[in-house]
Symmetry: C2
């Protein structure tokens, strides 16, 4: 069985993005980098690198449609994701979406596949693609919440930014009550990082 991980950044009040995400504001109506400041300016580089690597270290990825395409690009067949010509995944990425679309092979081994028949189907396809390697649930909140609710995430590395933003996409929303076990906690002035095992 693949180990299923999720690394995600949230505000202290639980939001992973602000309201009104769009092409111009991928993180919604919040100031630039308010949540992800730690990714770029963390003091302890070795630890930061380990945490950033965790986000992209898997044999297959699953992401929600918002994380691949802003709502204003849903019908644009030319749109190939936020992630540039050589996305950081270097593995198959299964994008949960409503409308079927041809897979998009990118440079560096990333291929975006589009899954229209739900999270279980995407999970099965990711398992097959990962071949026993890790599966990473890349985000956003809605996708992570669905996989948490389904009991399919084994480990969560949460990066808590020291801000509250009051609205947006909330982690754990609608997820049945969870028990977790902190495996490690660390931090700098930019974020507190807690790695949790999700208890079944």
């Amino acid at each position: 069985m693949s180990k299923v991980t999720c690394g995600i950044t949230m505000s202290l009040d639980g939001f992973v993005a602000g309201p009104n995400q769009s092409l111009k504001n991928p993180m919604g109506d919040i100031p630039e980098n308010l949540l992800h400041h730690w990714m770029f300016d963390e003091d302890d580089n070795k630890q930061r690198d380990e945490m950033l690597n965790y986000l992209v270290d898997a044999g297959a990825f699953i992401m929600g449609s918002n994380m691949f395409m802003p709502k204003d690009k849903r019908d644009d067949p030319e749109w190939e994701g936020w992630w540039g010509d050589n996305p950081p995944y270097h593995a198959p990425v299964f994008v949960l979406c409503e409308n079927p679309r041809e897979s998009i092979p990118m440079e560096g081994g990333t291929t975006f596949h589009f899954v229209t028949d739900g999270i279980e189907s995407a999970f099965r396809q990711a398992q097959e693609a990962a071949g026993g390697g890790k599966i990473s649930i890349a985000g956003g909140a809605n996708t992570v919440n669905q996989y948490l609710a389904a009991g399919l995430i084994d480990e969560l590395w949460l990066h808590i930014a020291p801000v509250t933003i009051g609205s947006g996409a909330r982690l754990f929303d609608g997820v049945p009550n969870l028990k977790l076990e902190p495996l490690e906690a660390s931090g700098t002035r930019l974020a507190t990082h807690i790695r949790y095992k999700v208890l079944k």
Copy 2:
């Protein structure tokens, strides 16, 4: 000026108590000790003692009515709080409430005073009583949120229990967006403790 502190335990999804708090269920409809397990069973006793002491180390305290009396005891003139004959505060405690009531002196230096004219009035009275010493905002969520919104809390020591409970009294609810600075982070398998400076 008094330094104003708040030490409070919340679930990973931001709740400091479950729904339906009552005399029988002071923490609401959540299993016993789900949030406050760390207070009793934390492995690292020295650190735990420091954090518990932080909750009661002040020259004056402010608490919400729920923290002094369950809703079913609001009209009971005999009710003297949850805290026993010798409450842990050993200083004046200003209780925010709707109906005027005589102050209640307890053993050990705690006196409960009842404030019916709002948080600013309670704050002024606490400042006077503390005489330059610390003021602690003891809880619950609604009270802490009001003082956070008013910009009156300097430091927050947050204890994040590794559970989600989905409903109840939520910290930061309705508080204008905050920026904080983590001063220290630590933890065990029972909780992650983050001490924040609230930036003005």
